[in-house]
Amino acid sequence: MKKLLSLLLVVLMLITSFGCTKPEDKVESAADENGDFHIAVSLPYTGTNASYAEYIDMGIKVALKKLENEGWLNGDGTGKIICDYYDDKNDATEGATIATKVTTSTEPYYLLEVGSFASGVSYPCANIYKEAEMVQYALTCSKSDYLATSGDWGFSLSMTQDTAAARVAAYDIKYLNFDKIALIYSNDSWGLETCKFYTETAEKLGVQLLASEKYDDGQQDFTSILTKIKQTNPQLVMCFCAENDIVLIRQQAETVGLSCEWQVSSKSRTSNVLQNLGDLGEGLYGIYAKTKDLNDPVYIEYEKLYKEMYPQKFADDNNTTQKYADQGYNCMMTVIWAIKETMKTGTTRQAFRDKLATLTDFPGVQGKLTFATGRKILQIQYLSRIVRGEDGKLKWVNFEDILDTFDVDAVAGLK
């Protein structure tokens, strides 16, 4: 009797949780009855990388608010974009379950999926979206073979590691003239790829890395590997790691007495690191994608709305918008553009994808965005550093004229 009781409970839940489902029919436009478009957003709202998810989420919401202020897609308050937010907990299995739900859901019928943050989550779901013929806008996926694996349906706003990591090596060795370099990188698919391309380019430029230490996710105590690196007394330690880890590494380097220059990738060139490191952060090198042109009208409008919606966050990041929020904003603006372009002839998933692939020189917040050249995003990347300004406060400063004298792509052998 006891087992029968629990089985009734389970079957009951099975039915109520799924609701009724209409059989799928050929869709001439993704819009629902009242002309609104549905987009699925899958981000790691809990678990590791949750802080990055929040920023992307903010960027998307700012773009939607801007569209709302303009009276939605038709300008008269109709043609809304409704986003459903899913939490994939930075886990591939969860991501795949969400992907299947999104690609097969008819109530609501999704036009495309935005997310996830880590390439380790979006990369494995690529084939689910490819088979369902639905765009997966993995805006921050930087895996070098992501575009190949996702067929025509994968889009990403971040540069792949083969370019980004090679450029960092070129800057370190040929511009900053370091030749005694040690490397610390996180043991995940992003970390492994960045380490591989960084080491290759370094060897091409004649520099043998002194040490290359990998650490597992969730590691807190780096004192042992820092002691080991201290023995090789490097000039520079390059860290491919998330912002939480670089704070720990840099602090523990101090306790261990390892004194040298430090470099982080664009992933950790954030205001969070600036705040948490305090004085220790002085002199930390970083990499920054093209600066926000402060008097570019696109940026001004975005910043105003951003400041309105998230005053506290804006102030925390010493009055600038956060990098990943910018990418969230760029992503949603390109989506809105593609929908508007195809609305007259019916925005099906295929039509949306074809239009998005023709994107050229779209005025994004961080400079022009082009998908037309085989969906390979090429952004300009500058060296950056934490410097103490005249007012005595530390802040990130970008070497904006570095490219006039130093052709990083040629040096890195990417041309």
Binding site: L5, N187, D216
Partner: protein
């Protein structure tokens, strides 16, 4: 065993199996995927139920065999492009060997120490997979594992894959029950009940430990190999301690030693998170509800007030049935 008694004994299993076999006719791909992952969880949980419920060993590291099964299939496909049917034998051999390996320390170690051995074993297996890059590609994970290829016939459609998994679920249940009703099953239960009395009956404890670990590992490995093809992607991070704890919860909720109960436990814990996903206010705190359910289910099933409450409900329901059937007879 007259077949009516047989039917009555396995009634719960029959109800679950039939309702799951019928389900794909009117579920969409998302619901089907949940049913598949529930079916996989059933095989995995039943294998742990054999080890815990019958063999009396509380294992914290059962995910190790699950990951070995998944990685054996993935690695063999990645390096040799062999189909699932050819990989099946190596999966059974390697996971069985891993089970045997883990049972070796059991000759000297008893009680709670067994639990820490299984936990350490799982951590070591995970670390090997994470860092043995030439073979397992480490943290990069293995991508693009094709659909199951059985002797040339490729199971393209997810429904076919679901029926293959259900075949394994039914086979697992049947074999487990054959085993329990045999000399091996009785001796295992005797050992887990009172090892000294079992010894006095002339049972040599260690060989039985080796057998139960090996068989349990093989079934967990089969579930793992199917998981690899379901996801078409494997990475070390998925096979962590939480997977082992989830499996233990399924077994304990279902009732130790009761294989049909384990299937209910697996179904319950796989559907619950999806069921909770639709409640907006739970958005960020879905896992809190999951933790809360664990505590509540334990409270209902295994605390004095809880069981009183439950018995009260079940007696009232059965009274209801009796009243109804009584009326039926009168009419």
């Amino acid at each position: 065993m007259k077949n009516t008694a047989l039917l009555k004994k396995h009634l719960l299993f029959i109800i679950i199996a039939v309702s799951m076999l019928v389900a794909p006719l009117f579920t969409n791909a998302y619901q089907l995927r949940i049913l598949i992952s529930a079916a996989l969880a059933m095989i995995f949980a039943m294998s742990l139920n054999l080890l815990m419920g019958i063999g009396g060993t509380v294992s914290f590291g059962h995910a190790a065999f699950y990951s070995i099964g998944a990685y054996t299939t993935a690695v063999l496909w990645y390096h040799f492009k062999t189909p699932y049917s050819t990989n099946f034998i190596p999966v059974i051999l390697i996971t069985g060997l891993a089970g045997l390996l883990l049972s070796l320390p059991m000759s000297r170690i008893t009680g709670r120490y067994v639990t820490i051995i299984t936990l350490s074993f799982a951590e070591i297996v995970n670390l090997i997979i994470k860092n043995w890059d030439p073979v397992t590609l480490g943290q990069m994970g293995i991508v693009g594992i094709p659909s199951v290829n059985l002797f040339g016939h490729v199971l393209k459609d997810k429904r076919e894959f679901f029926y293959l998994t259900m075949l394994f679920v039914i086979l697992t249940y049947i074999i487990m029950n054959w085993l329990v009703d045999s000399k091996l099953g009785r001796n295992l239960r005797a050992i887990s009940n009172d090892a000294i009395a079992a010894e006095a009956m002339g049972i040599k404890i260690f060989p039985y430990k080796v057998i139960v670990f090996t068989i349990s590992a093989i079934f967990a490995g089969i579930a793992g190999s199917l998981y690899a093809h379901l996801m078409s992607y494997v990475e070390p991070a998925t096979f962590n301690a939480n997977l082992s704890f989830e499996c233990i919860s399924m077994v304990v909720i279902g009732g130790l030693g009761n294989f049909a109960g384990t299937m209910v436990g697996a179904l319950f814990l796989k559907i619950l998170p999806e069921y909770l996903r639709q409640f907006e206010f739970l958005f960020k705190y879905r896992m809190i509800a999951y933790g809360l359910v664990l505590v509540i289910v334990m409270w209902i099933n295994h605390s004095i007030p809880g069981t009183k409450l439950k018995n009260a409900i079940s007696t009232r329901i059965s009274a209801l049935f009796r009243k109804k059937s009584a009326e039926a007879e009168e009419v």
